[in-house]
Amino acid sequence: MSIHNAPRQYLNWGTSLGLLLILGLAVELLLQQYGLRQQQAEQQRLLAHANEVRAVLLGELNATLHLATGLATYIPAKAGRIDPAELEPWLKGLFQQGRHIRNIGLAPGNRLTFIYPLAGNEAALGLYYPDTPKQWPVIERIIASAKPMLDGPLLLVQGGQGLIYRVPVFLPDQSYWGLISTVIDFDRLYAEVEAVARQRGLSISLLPLDGALPQQSAEAEAINLVVPVAGASWQLQARALEPLQPLPLGLRLLGWGLALTVSLLIGLALHSQQRRASLLLALNQSQRDFLQAFERAPQSMALVDNRGCLLVVNQAFCRLLQLHATQLVRQPLEHFCVPEERADLLQHLAAIRPGPNRSWTQHLLDAHQQRIAVECSAAILGPVADTDQARILHIQDIRERQRLQRLQNEFTASVSHELRTPLTAIAGALGLINGGALGEVPPAMAELLQIAQANSQRLQALISDLLDMEKLLAGQMRFELREQPLWPLLQDAVAHNQPYASQHQVTLQLQEPAAPLSVRVDAQRLSQVMANLLSNAAKFSPPGSQVTVSAEDLGDRVRIAVRDRGPGICEEFRPRIFSKFAQADGSDRRQKGGTGLGLAISKELVERMQGDIGFDTAAGNGTTFWFELPVSTSRQESSTL
């Protein structure tokens, strides 16, 4: 199962991306709100400042206009008579108060007859308003409405922009007297107001409305205020001198950076979470698979603790013992073992170490107390022989295998036995004829009869070896180990095998050891081993050479060596020299005789007598076969192997 799940990963990163977009949107919204707030605050500030500016404007204007109003009450009081000598000083005083007044004119009967100050305004003296089409319609409206009115700004004849405040004057009898016209220096007034505005960070513009609606500036942030003045109204438009700073880029970057970080973190968290989840899933799955494999394995398996107590058993194990798992778990394994082998079982369990598996055969008892021959293999779970580590036991029912082995052994034994009886008769008959028991045989026939006898003897030897091998492998060969002097045994062996060696023109030579030696051995088996080694040595020795038999004291062991002067054993053949039917050259068997079992049997025999067998060889320098046997009697008295 794959730990990486591509669609799910895409989903995760998709979620992250979505999250990033949402967070980014939130950042943008927040920034927008923040901007709006800023803008609103700015508007509030602008409005407050614009109102201040308007108040200044109105204050300046009203202070100025107030002068004309005073004059308008003076004239009716004088019944319309103008005395320049009386007016002049008064106007002069007024003029000094009203800072922005450029001139004041009096026009009784609409003719401008008095102007203060006159200097610079002489051109306007004597002007009759009805004759000025530019001014007359306005003046006519003023007279008709009987209310003063501020007109302008307009270009003055004297130059510059001015405002003209015209006050219609009526005598006490309600008859129209004329006009008082105050010209205000608009540029100066404007400059003063603008200076105030600039102090407050505003730029302003002033527009006469002429009865129209206040113009909305295209710029949203501009403040429009209506300035009501006598008989008219102006629009004061104010805007910030410095435009509102756009939101700093850093703030936006910070917001998006945060959004990105949060999305990435969440994405990573999701990713690792999912990775862990899928790993966990895979782990679970593999654990389940392993448990299933254990549970359903065709072989019996069990986990045991360090004291041999069953921890877990699988189905095959339950079937083998015909018990339910609940009857097995937490029970010591030895309870299901035949009583006589319990100690062995415990020993085997205690001896389990890390490394190669330990195997042994054992007999268990099933639910019906039937013996079951099994082969146990055990390994420790873990790298150290920790006391707490569980051991896994693999238990194989070998009853069928043993039965087949027995059948095979019986078959071989019975075939060999059946072969042996007729062969005994054949060899016996030939022996009698060739021995001359029945008289002289013609020479040609005698040769053939000799061949027949020799071959029947070879067959007898082969069958005898086969039977020995079967007995050895089946563990049915009995050994009678006794400590006894070695010298007579070797003498016998040499004596018995000398006739055969003589056929190969080889002499067997026995070297007497310095001191008498004794070995613990089965004399008959020793002679069998010696016969094999001596006949081999004789066969492979050059004619006329010697085969030397020697014995050496090795302390608790005795080494017996048979040395020939033959060609040595070739390199390739050395590893399998003790195998069954092993002969260096397939043709050897016919040339040299022998069954191919001699060395295999010798090895088995020596090992069953607690000995070792081996050889030393060098090409062209002969071969020494040796075997070592124990001297001590402290070992097993007798073994039935």
Binding site: T421, P422, L423, T424, I426, G428, A429, L432, Q460, E480
Partner: protein, 128 residues
């Protein structure tokens, strides 16, 4: 020492019987009565009056030791030595056969040219 003349040979395999007979008669110069089974031997032993009895161990029906047991009731095996013939055995088994009353054991396959010599040796020992 009395002379060894008549040998009773009990052996189920006719070929071995024949070989042994030649080996004993032609080579050894004895008079041989071959019996094909234990019962045959029991039937003929008194009539033949052998000096020596050679018994095969492995025989169908009554085997060598059983035949020996029955023979004891008919003849004095103290006077008539009995030898078993059997495949290669351990010294301990030879001891076992001796304890049953046999003088010795002749190992199969036997050398027919030496068989008579072997029997003479046993005979000499029994009467030595």
């Amino acid at each position: 020492m009395p002379e060894l003349k008549r040998i009773l040979h009990v052996e189920d395999d006719p070929s071995i019987q024949a070989v042994a007979r030649v080996a004993l008669e032609a080579v050894g110069g004895f008079q041989v009565l071959s019996c094909c089974c234990g019962q045959d031997a029991l039937d003929q032993v008194q009539g033949f009056a052998p000096d020596f009895i050679l018994l095969d161990v492995m025989m169908p029906g009554m085997d060598g030791p059983q035949t020996l047991e029955k023979l004891r009731q008919l003849v004095d095996i103290g006077q008539i030595p009995v030898a078993f013939m059997t495949a290669k055995v351990q010294p301990s088994e030879i001891e076992h056969y001796r304890s049953l009353g046999a003088r010795d054991v002749i190992i199969k396959p036997f050398d027919p040219m030496q068989l008579a010599t072997q029997i003479r040796a046993i005979w000499s020992q029994a009467h030595g």
